[in-house]
């Protein structure tokens, strides 16, 4: 079942065109990986989809769960079930992780016209999610991302994802900042969260992450659009041959 349909997406930043006609369909239950050299627009795609200000969509459409995603406010996209695990999570001094999560969980429930979560259920959800990702109680008590190491910040993104259980999660350069053990742990958590109703869009430079989270589809991006698509073997091929060869530039 189709979850998101991106058609001919063009995005400008500061009047410079970064995405130049990007197309992609993702169905529920699928994991897609987007690879490509630096500066080809991978992160721009992620930012534009979640509605980051200053990312100007000049052309194209995005249909998410049958609705026009580009018409929605930032928070509406999130409430509809879109989640971005940030490449660089932002520190929010003074806002404790737990209060933040409670506020966010309740905002979602309110959007779905449900009652606020009970304290008991909330604590259960926190416990389950933090065990899954492997974050400590100490981290939960601190302010959002404040003083977290690079790896902790990334784990915290996946912890939030586990808490919120989005329909579509975009993981932007998840592997940067994670050591190999943490990477395995986080990948394992994501694999446990995979099911036939949700989908993942993984943005990465390297094949490494895809050894642990095996994608159904791999796309190679260059100059603002997808230039080649294939299955998981494409990533391996890329790793051995390099971008230039795969993209036929040699």
């Amino acid at each position: 079942m189709e979850l998101i349909k991106i058609r001919d997406l063009h995005v400008n930043i500061d009047n410079k065109e970064i995405l130049k006609g990007f197309d992609l369909n993702i169905n529920r239950g699928e994991v897609h990986a987007i690879m490509g050299p630096n500066g080809t627009g991978k992160s721009t795609l992620a930012s534009a989809l979640v509605g980051k200000p200053d990312y100007e969509v000049t052309k194209g459409e995005v249909i998410f769960k049958g609705k026009d995603l580009l018409e929605m406010e930032i928070e509406e996209r999130a409430l509809e079930g879109l989640f971005l695990a940030f490449q660089y999570p932002v520190e929010i001094p003074g806002v404790s992780m737990i209060n933040f999560m409670k506020t966010v969980v309740d905002a979602r429930r309110e959007y779905r016209k449900e009652e606020p979560i009970s304290p008991v259920d909330f604590l259960k959800l926190v416990k389950r999610s933090s065990e899954l990702v492997g974050i400590s109680d100490k981290m939960k008590g601190r302010a959002v991302n404040e003083g977290f190491s690079g790896g902790e910040k990334k784990k915290n993104e996946i912890f939030q994802m586990a808490m919120l259980q989005p329909d579509l999660a975009i993981l932007d350069e998840l592997d940067s900042g994670l050591d190999i053990d943490s990477l395995k742990q986080v990948a394992e958590a994501i694999n446990k969260l995979r099911n036939e109703n949700n989908a993942f869009l993984i943005i990465t430079h390297y094949q490494r992450l895809l050894d642990y989270i095996v994608p159904d589809f791999v796309h190679i991006m260059n100059d603002g659009k997808i230039v080649k698509s294939g299955d998981k073997d494409l990533a391996k091929e890329l790793e051995s041959k390099g971008y230039d060869d795969i993209m036929g530039l040699n």
């Binding site: 930032i74 928070e75 999130a78 003074g94 933040f100 919120l164």
Partner: protein, 431 residues
């Protein structure tokens, strides 16, 4: 404005008997009036008053308020959790009817200063105007001349008051009345206590309050003042405090200011013994035409003392805020640590904040720092919160509230913090 000074001279004469009524303050009052006539109202050209115009005060002929409000206000429904067995309630500067003086077996005296003066004049006179020695400005002098009531708290040696003492003050008079409260807090050696002060006014209030609090901390004494100021309407308030600290004492003062038509906080601390610590923090949230001027003066008169000032402001609408922090390190005050910080978020084009650090250092072995910033909301943080599903309004409120509450991070009274946090949230969501 000579005629206004004459007006207050007449007001003094007219109320002489009423003011005296056996309170033994004659000399102090006469001196106060003399100083007031000499100094008059501070003008904007004076450095210390450049952010606070006294014109609106000089415009009105204030009467000495003798309207005693007997009814107890329903504070507690608003302040859940702050109730205390040691509570004193003031309405328009007058102590509420059913509470005058309380003495406990361990020697603690707590009550209306008027009542304590009548019963134990020597206990009060020993301290009256001993911290506000010189009547530093016209308003201090005015208070010395006209002081009517206030609270008095005496904590003997080695006594720790377990519950925070609660002092509430509410102004609600629809005519031009002058209120001069004088509060005195005495902590003998090794005594400790916390005072929670809730100050408020109603929308229709026209009274002008000019209050002084004098605090005396004995050796190793510990005083915490947690204060919430929430003034509605056209209330004008000048709150001056003078604190003297003996060696090893610890003074912590935390002021949350929610709006205020025209409010000035003057906080004077004199560190008179070694190894003292003064920790002065304030968070203010202003909008519309609010005007708040915070001034902190810390006098490091002895070596080996620490002081810290941390003020944060959020300004919206056409509000005007100011922070001025003075630190004086005298020549012999070696090994002083003095820190000062004032950060502000300005949300509108028309809001205005003035931040003024003053460090006067005559000793050579000191660590002093000051920092100030004026900025806008962190847009990356806003995006992050919204990308998790929080509305723009909620994200803004969360960030601003966290910003302001940071100054109260060392406050151990969680109930007080909850009340303040709620008040800040309400103020921010109202915008």
């Amino acid at each position: 404005m000579v005629d206004m000074i004459d007006y207050y001279k007449e007001l003094f004469e007219k109320n002489k008997e009423n003011l005296e009524s056996g309170l033994q303050l004659e000399q102090i009052r006469q001196q106060g009036l003399k100083d007031f006539v000499r100094m008059g109202f501070p003008g904007n050209k004076m450095e210390k008053w450049k952010n606070f115009s006294t014109k609106s005060i000089q415009k009105n002929r204030y009467e000495l308020n003798s309207i005693e409000e007997r009814t107890k206000l329903d504070f507690f429904s608003k302040l859940s959790g702050l109730e205390s067995p040691n509570t004193i309630i003031f309405n328009n500067g007058h102590c509420s009817y059913d509470f005058q003086i309380e003495e406990s077996k361990n020697g603690v005296i707590f009550g209306s200063i008027k009542a304590v003066l009548a019963k134990y004049p020597e206990k009060v006179l020993k301290y009256f105007n001993k911290a506000n020695k010189q009547n530093l400005n016209g308003f201090n002098a005015m208070n010395s001349a006209f002081a009517q009531d206030g609270f008095f708290l005496y904590v003997p040696e080695n006594i720790k008051i377990d519950f925070p003492v609660l002092v509430t003050q509410n102004y609600n008079i629809d005519s031009y009345q002058l209120i001069n409260n004088r509060n005195i807090i005495v902590l003998e050696d090794d005594a400790s206590c916390e005072i929670v002060q809730i100050e408020s006014s109603e929308v229709g209030n026209k009274a002008f309050a000019n209050n002084i609090t004098e605090s005396f901390l004995g050796q190793n004494a510990q005083l915490t003042i947690n204060k919430l100021q929430k003034y509605l309407g056209n209330t004008i308030v000048i709150e001056s405090s003078f604190t003297k600290q003996k060696s090893g004492s610890n003074y912590s003062c935390n002021i949350a200011t929610i709006g205020g038509n025209k409010l000035r906080n003057d906080i004077h601390v004199k560190l008179e013994g070694t190894n003292c610590f003064a920790n002065i923090n304030g968070g203010f949230v202003l909008d519309e035409n609010n005007e708040v001027d915070n001034n902190v003066y810390i006098d490091h008169a002895t070596p080996d003392c620490d002081s810290n000032q941390n003020f944060k402001g959020i300004l919206d609408g056409k509000s005007k805020g100011a922070f001025t922090g003075y630190v004086l390190v005298r020549q012999d005050s070696q090994r002083t640590n003095a820190y000062q910080s004032n950060n502000n978020i300005v949300l509108s084009e028309k809001a205005n904040i003035s931040t003024n650090p003053f460090l006067e250092i005559y000793a050579d072995d000191v660590k002093c720092s000051h920092g100030a910033s004026i900025g806008r909301l962190d847009q990356n943080a806003m995006f992050y919160l919204r990308a998790r599903g929080l509305s723009e309004e909620k994200s803004k409120e969360l960030l601003l509230s966290a910003f302001a509450m940071e100054v109260f991070k060392d406050v151990t009274n969680t109930k007080f913090k909850e009340v303040v946090s709620k008040e800040i949230e309400n103020k921010l969501l109202k915008d």
